[in-house]
């Protein structure tokens, strides 16, 4: 990870002077590097030996693309802070934030050089993330179920980790594992938000306000009284709706345990060495338990 951090710093040094401060603000503090870690772990699960240049490059680019999604998310959600610091659009303005996003994407593709399979995977990722965001927004404030949540989360965070797995193992065998890991991460994020945790970087107020279908929401709105407030916020106060979500936390945690078990089974079935993948599952599962 230290090597990756150095690479990101070197990359920023070579970027335009105009955007350097914004890029340093975005990249040089607070990242958990969980997506690069997923790429490395998936590589380790199928091969031995040192991490090759192509995999290291993919890890750098996934971190770039992940940050693009964070910048856009923060603008859309009107989030003033992330991980306790001002978001890029708050600090540098929306125009700079949007233009920097475009710059990062273009740089990401350049960094991939002649890795055509990797480029195809990043293109898949950008398309799926765009579709997922639109779908999530279109389906807000609707009385949907856990299966709908699974579909949205699978395309949103799930697609990110699917691509990480494919970039790491380069055979597609761990794609399903990546999807399950993403689903688990998304669900833990949802549960953590309801618990009021800052550990995952965001609060749950935006999702509650916008009627976004989170895992606790999908479980809570099975109750018609909760569904009424969820679909029409004027019908009751958000604190009351939050109470319904909190009541469903044990059920949500049990559902996440099931997803984690699916992930472990997938790792044992398709990895040469499942240990690094199971470690990822355990680490992710802890995110909602702080």
């Amino acid at each position: 990870m230290a090597h990756l951090r150095e690479r990101i710093a070197r990359w920023i040094e070579g970027c335009s002077d105009e955007l350097r401060e914004a890029l340093e603000w975005q990249f040089l503090t607070g990242s958990k590097y969980f997506r690069p870690l997923t790429i490395f772990s998936c590589y380790r699960a199928v091969r031995e030996g040192p991490i090759p240049e192509q995999i290291m490059q993919s890890a750098l680019v996934i971190e770039l693309f992940h940050n693009v999604s964070l910048i856009i998310d923060d603008i859309v959600d009107r989030s003033p802070t992330r991980r306790g610091r001002a978001t890029m659009h708050t600090k540098f303005g929306e125009l700079s934030a949007l233009m920097t996003s475009g710059y990062i994407v273009a740089e990401g593709y350049l960094q991939m050089k002649d890795d055509l399979a990797g480029i195809a995977l990043f293109s898949e990722l950008m398309k799926r993330l765009g579709v997922a965001e639109c779908m999530q927004w279109r389906l807000r404030r609707q009385p949907l179920g856990v299966e709908d949540w699974r579909k949205i989360a699978g395309e949103d965070t799930g697609s990110m980790f699917e691509v990480c797995a494919c970039l790491g193992d380069r055979s597609g065998k761990l794609r399903t594992f990546g999807g399950l890991l993403g689903l688990l991460y998304h669900g833990c994020d949802d549960v953590g938000d309801v618990k009021g945790l800052a550990a995952l970087g965001g609060g749950g107020e935006e999702d509650l306000r916008d009627g976004i279908l989170t895992l606790p929401a999908a479980l809570a709105i099975r109750d018609p009284a909760a569904a009424k407030i969820f679909c029409d916020p004027e019908a009751g106060n958000l604190a009351e709706l939050g109470g319904y979500f909190v009541a469903k936390l044990p059920e949500a945690e049990a559902y996440l345990d099931k997803i984690a078990e699916e992930g472990r089974t997938e790792a044992r079935s398709f990895a040469v060495d499942p240990a690094p993948l199971i470690a990822l599952i355990e680490q992710t599962r802890q995110l909602s338990r702080y």
């Binding site: 009385p143 179920g145 856990v146 299966e147 699974r150 065998k173 399903t176 099975r222 109750d223 018609p224 569904a227 997938e266 079935s269 398709f270």
Partner: protein
Amino acid sequence: MSNAEDVFFGPGRSGHDPVTGFFMAMRDAWLTGAGIKENGNGQSMPGGNPGAALPASVVLRPMISALGAMADLAAASRQGFGQPGAGPAHPSPGGGHEPAAADFLLPMGQAMMIAANRSVSYWLGLAQIFESHQATLVQAIGVKAVDGPVAGSERLVTADALRALLREVGNLATREARLLQNELSALDESLVQIFQKPEPSGSYRRRWRAKV
């Protein structure tokens, strides 16, 4: 072969040479498969599980029989069948490896066993899924019959549970197919190793030059 062996390995293999025994074991497997299909098409008990009419031993016997036949083949392979020229893998005059009957039959048998194993695993998985969703299914059918039209929220919950069931069935089929593909790929790779031509000798040198 003793009576006890006959019970387990079936009549197909008794008194035959290993190759014939192997083919007869495969035939037994196909016949049993056809029997299960026929049973499922019309001879099952009303409302019962079509496969339940056949005891597990009947289904498993041909597989056991095939395993036994393969064991015979492996043994014969080691002994060269005791006949000159009939050996499964004898060295060629040039010292290379000449493919023989057993070299083809063993992988075929392994492929058959892999497929049968995946098939059984799929059906067991399916049974587990239906077992875990039994309450939902009963609720889906029963609530409307007892209480009349179901409330909107309850319908949503039931629909969600049924969608989960469908997803799990689909995922199981995909997963088993991927496992089957993996296992057959490994077998394919081992076949490539068996039939790979020997490396050119050390004295071999290419006779062309790279362009400058």
